[in-house]
């Protein structure tokens, strides 16, 4: 990287996350001005307009791609209409050791005097919690499930390719045409559509003026600039911002700037989960790259520099501060923009191109937490592509992760997408499959599968709180067979899923009615055509997910009961339950037997893997296909972010020998340390799950660096990946760092500030992780080979 990029990168790394109340003030004033006078969609559009026209414009020294969400890098806004922090929250956010944001006294005053008085009891969080039933609250507090929308808005979507072909002047024309064509006589929904479309139109104007304000600012800086080279750059930035986002981009530089304005628009409009994401960046940029190289206006070096500047912009925007359970399920600055490389083109041919390799080089050189990156590997992609990625993976900071493009397409087609839309899709967030630019695929919350077993073993009672939150499915001491236990578990599962879904249906409706996202709706097909908001079902495809957590721990627990209580009769259910209650105190021999002599998931042992399949099927059947408020369907995926640690902390001792409070297994990975036969056995076990019936699974393998030190190691890593994908595996990621290194980092964090590890679908600084998560990562099996 050159000096410019090195400086920008370092400045981004050094910037201290802080809270900025600029957005909160603009939003609050806009609500005071417009609330009650206009329809809700138009209100939200006017809020967006005020933001785009009034927020501070920031152009940092030396940068080529411009625009910040806050007034400066890592100055992070709050979203009081979603979650209105108390001043005490601010104190916690400011003072906590990990994932902190500095909060000034002035900000606390503003919060106290301006923001809280307006938003108290009115934020989505307040409205939502108020609407939930007592049993929902009991389950939430017990840790049966989490709720994604309690602090952040639905998002979970990715930008498609249309912004590279059309500017916002064009989108506005489309919107106006739709308004003109509304049939108020026969279409009973015409008024609602008109309001939504008017809102989109206002947002299109707003983002155009946001671009123009950057052009003005760049010119202003150019006039003051003494360095002639920089002066020219600033003038060029002004030209770019005068053209995009109003018009379609005409160059590589403009294409990147176009996306960046769109990105800022989405994450300023609302605090969308997973921020937003350019998705298939190599596919989108390639036509601009090719044209630039051919007509001599672009060189590969220039293109790479622009991409690197683009990368820095993501790193400048940490995920907005989280509190409470949301912090525990997703304790990270990472905001999950996850750039896809490779994969297939819409016609089904190999999508790897020159920009793909350039993006991989940028990932390698920049080594930033954000944006996250992955490769979409199809059987049609060349091995060279996979090997290039493996060479980066070998460096041990967890990027890029590897997805099976062919499985992703099959998963999406199974859900009812057209094959072209599926091929233009990919994965986002951690591992979620989606039809980019055309789908709202909302993650609604993590679901604690292991806790459901715990409740089953306690006949409906949560032993941690003593509350009865489940059904009375019988005292397990009386169960005469394993099948009886399984039946009881399935009944409890049904009970808790229904509670979760009942809550979801209310929350989804609240968002549809009160918190539309007209700007995001412009970007997502077919919201304009349908005259319907993204949050109300306007997208071509609408999917809700509930993410299953702990399948490894759950499987091993069932396996332990099956083997030791029912098959071998090593001890009675009563003895086991007593041991669990005692957290295995004084029963270490029993715990060792459960840990060491139980067939476990991750060892390619059908005894355990068949149990996994049954439990997976039970979860799938319970969730898949249910209708959503937006008119779409529920699907499942299997990923945890950091929730397996939180869920572990609220779950007592389990029959697999796990002690109370310990983390659960993560994603679809085996229980940490339970896999005894190396990576092929793990892959075989994981491959027995039917990935095609999910919208994403997460498998984490940890390798020691010496296993990958030479070209042969790279070959074998590639072959391992290809083999897993033959089994339809959805995703695999690697941590390549020795346990010794991690131990040293724990002891001397200041010397390992830059140590990045793979957590779960994303990478994070090791030293920023909680101690529990650090331990968990260390104990994940380190695969060695003889």
């Amino acid at each position: 990287m050159n000096d410019r990029v090195r400086t920008l990168r370092q400045e981004s790394l050094d910037a201290v996350p802080s809270i900025s109340l600029e957005r909160a003030q603009i939003v609050t004033n806009a609500y005071k001005k417009y609330y009650g006078k206009v329809s809700i969609p138009v209100l939200r559009a006017l809020v967006f307009k005020e933001l785009m026209e009034n927020k501070t414009i920031c152009i940092n020294e030396g940068e080529l791609i411009v625009g910040e969400r806050g007034p400066e890098p890592k100055a992070t806004p709050t979203y009081p209409e979603l979650c209105c922090h108390t001043v005490a929250d601010f104190d916690v956010i400011d003072k906590r050791q990990k994932v902190f944001f500095r909060v000034s006294e002035e900000a606390k005053d503003i919060q106290r005097n301006e923001i809280i008085p307006y938003w108290k009891d009115k934020s989505m969080r307040d409205l939502m919690f108020d609407q939930m039933t007592q049993e929902w609250h009991d389950c939430y507090e017990s840790g049966i499930f989490t709720e994604f929308m309690e602090q952040r808005a639905p998002g979970h979507t990715v930008c498609g390719d249309k912004i590279y072909r059309k500017g916002f002047i064009g989108f506005k024309e489309d919107i106006e045409n739709q308004i003109a064509a509304l049939d108020f006589v026969n279409d009973m929904d015409a008024y609602n559509k008109q309001e939504e479309l008017r809102a989109m139109s206002i947002c299109a104007d707003a983002i155009i003026s946001f671009g123009l304000r950057h052009a003005e600012k760049a010119l202003e800086l150019a006039m003051k600039e003494n360095n002639p080279k920089r002066r020219e750059e600033l003038k060029q930035i002004a030209d770019v911002c005068n053209n995009v986002p109003a018009n379609a981009p005409g160059s590589f530089h403009e294409a990147l700037q176009m996306y960046w304005f769109v990105h800022l628009g989405v994450i300023t409009e609302l605090n969308t989960w997973d921020a937003y994401c350019p998705g298939r960046l190599d596919q989108h940029l390639y036509p601009f790259y090719k044209k630039g190289i051919e007509d001599g206006t672009l060189t590969p070096e220039k293109a790479e520099e622009l991409l690197q500047c683009f990368w820095v912009k993501f790193n400048n925007q940490p995920a907005p501060p989280k509190v409470g359970i949301t912090l525990q399920e997703s304790g990270t600055y990472t905001d999950f923009a996850n750039i896809n490389s490779g994969g297939l083109k819409a016609d089904g041919s190999d999508g790897v191109n020159d920009v793909t390799y350039m993006v991989l080089d940028v990932i390698d050189e920049m080594r930033l937490l954000q944006p996250s990156s992955n490769i979409q590997l199809s059987k049609k992609n060349p091995d060279r592509f996979l090997k290039r990625a493996c060479r980066i993976i070998r460096k041990g900071w967890g990027q890029p992760s590897v997805f099976n493009a062919d499985s992703v397409v099959e998963e999406l087609v199974r859900q009812g997408k057209s094959v072209e839309d599926a091929r233009n899709g990919g994965t986002s967030g951690c591992v979620e499959a989606g039809a980019f630019g055309k789908e709202a695929y909302i993650l609604t919350g993590y679901f604690n599968l292991v806790k459901v077993l715990e409740i089953t073993l306690n006949n409906g009672i949560d032993p941690r709180t003593g509350k009865k939150i489940g059904l009375e499915t019988g005292d397990p001491r009386e169960f005469e067979s394993y099948d009886e236990l399984m039946d009881a578990y399935k009944k409890q599962l049904h009970h808790f899923i229904e509670i979760k879904i009942r809550g979801n249906n209310v929350i989804e409706k609240l968002y549809a009615d009160l918190m539309p996202a007209p700007f995001l709706s412009i970007l997502t097909d077919d919201c304009i055509k349908n005259g319907k908001d993204y949050n109300a079902g306007g997208a071509r495809y609408n999917t809700n997910y509930i993410q299953g957590v702990g399948i490894g721990t759950l499987t091993d627990s069932f396996s332990a009961i099956k083997k030791h209580v029912f098959d071998d009769k090593s001890f009675t259910m009563s003895e086991l339950l007593d041991a669990l209650k005692a957290n295995y105190e004084g029963r270490e021999a029993m715990r060792q037997l459960l840990m060491n002599n139980t067939p476990k998931y991750g060892n390619d042992d059908d005894y355990a893997d068949e149990i996994m399949k049954e439990l997976f099927d039970a979860y799938y059947s319970e969730v898949n296909g249910r209708r959503t408020v937006k008119g779409g369907n529920y699907r499942i995926n299997m990923l945890p972010t950091t929730c397996h640690v939180y869920f572990g902390s609220v779950t007592g001792a389990t029959p697999d020998g796990r002690r109370s409070g310990q983390p659960q297994s993560e994603g679809i990975s085996p229980v940490q340390g339970a896999d005894m036969y190396g990576p092929t056995a793990v892959i075989k076990s994981a491959g027995k799950m039917d990935h095609i019936r999910t919208g994403g699974t997460l498998l984490n393998l940890k390798f020691t660096p010496d296993l990958l030190k030479d070209d042969e190691g790279i070959d074998k890593l590639s072959q391992l990946v290809r083999s897993y994908f033959k089994l339809d595996g959805h995703h695999i990621q690697f941590n390549v760092v020795s346990a010794d290194t991690l131990r040293r980092a724990q002891k001397n964090p200041e010397q390992y500030k830059d140590l990045i590890v793979r957590v779960a679908g994303y990478s994070d600084y090791f030293c920023d992780l909680t101690e529990a998560l650090q331990e968990e990562i260390i104990t994940r099996t380190e695969h060695k080979s003889l």
Binding site: E588, G678, P679, A681, Q719, S785
Partner: protein
């Protein structure tokens, strides 16, 4: 008698492989890094750190051998009751079918990587009928097969298995016979003859030389090895395997003493230097498996 089946074995032949370790070896190399492979019978391994002190082993042992290891007859009754797996029996009688079932599990990885099965040990040639049957079954399934051998076995055995063998991983430890006898317990005459035999049968061979500083890294041994290698048809490459001392723990678990104490693990640079020598003789050489 098998003591281990290692999946994702990536240093014993091409691709991703499963290595089947036969128990029992006619040699007793003083640097042996698999001491549990030497005896032809099962042996008790004790992992002291795993012990939770439950005392079940003491109850189970009929020979009073828990406190006095010298009385142990490796019957395994303590291992059966040890929930913590602090006591395990190395060595298990397995049927051909059982072993093949394990091998078959990773066939998808062999297909993808050009890998297969490696029979190692111990000394696989020491269990000739079992080896032959396993190899026949592997070939029925189109698996690539490699035999990792000291070469110390009957010529008939080699003749019998070689039609089912795609690759021999063949040890060449010491060329001086006196030294060979001193450090491995047997003469190298048979080994050198068998190497010629395999070569005559047109088989593909990788020579493996465990490099033990002070024992076989002298100029003379390298020169002599290089001569044999250059004059033997079918040898495609030489792997020089650096001595490592990870076996120290294993010796302790077996209640044995390794007889090598003062050998230092050769550095990467030193291994490069040795490889260079073979290279100078015009031999394709690789450090490690």
């Amino acid at each position: 008698m098998i003591f281990n089946i290692q999946r994702y074995s990536i240093h014993d032949g091409p691709g991703i492989r499963t290595t089947v370790f036969f128990k029992g070896c006619p040699l007793s190399c003083i640097w042996c890094h698999n001491p549990e492979s030497q005896s032809f019978g099962p042996e008790l391994m004790v992992y002291a750190r795993r012990c939770i002190g439950c005392g079940k082993c003491t109850e189970a042992c009929a020979h009073n051998a828990i406190s006095d290891r010298s009385k142990c007859i490796s019957c395994g009754s303590c291992a059966e009751v040890c929930h913590a797996k602090a006591r395990e029996l190395a060595g298990k009688k397995m049927s051909v079918r059982e072993v093949i079932a394990q091998i078959e599990k990773d066939s998808i990885f062999y297909d993808e990587s050009g890998g297969g099965v490696t029979f190692s040990g111990g000394e696989p040639l020491s269990q000739p009928e079992f080896l032959l049957e396993l190899m026949k079954q592997c070939k029925k399934r189109e698996f690539h097969t490699a035999v990792d051998t000291s070469g110390y076995g009957a010529a008939e055995t080699i003749e019998a298995i070689s039609r089912y063998t795609d690759l021999f991983l063949y040890d060449l430890k010491l060329l001086d016979d006196d030294k060979h006898i001193k450090y491995t317990g047997v003469s190298n005459k048979l080994i050198l003859e068998n190497l010629k035999l395999i070569s005559r049968q047109g088989k593909k061979i990788f020579i493996r030389i465990p490099l033990i500083p002070g024992i076989n890294d002298d100029e003379e041994n390298i020169r002599a090895a290089a001569e044999v290698i250059r004059s033997t048809a079918g040898i495609e490459q030489v792997n020089v395997l650096p001595y490592h001392n990870i076996a120290a723990d294993k010796y302790a678990r077996l209640g044995k003493h390794g007889s090598l104490k003062d050998i230092t693990v050769p550095s990467d640079e030193y291994m490069e230097h040795i490889a260079e020598k073979f290279f100078d003789y015009g031999i394709k050489v690789k450090i490690g498996g």
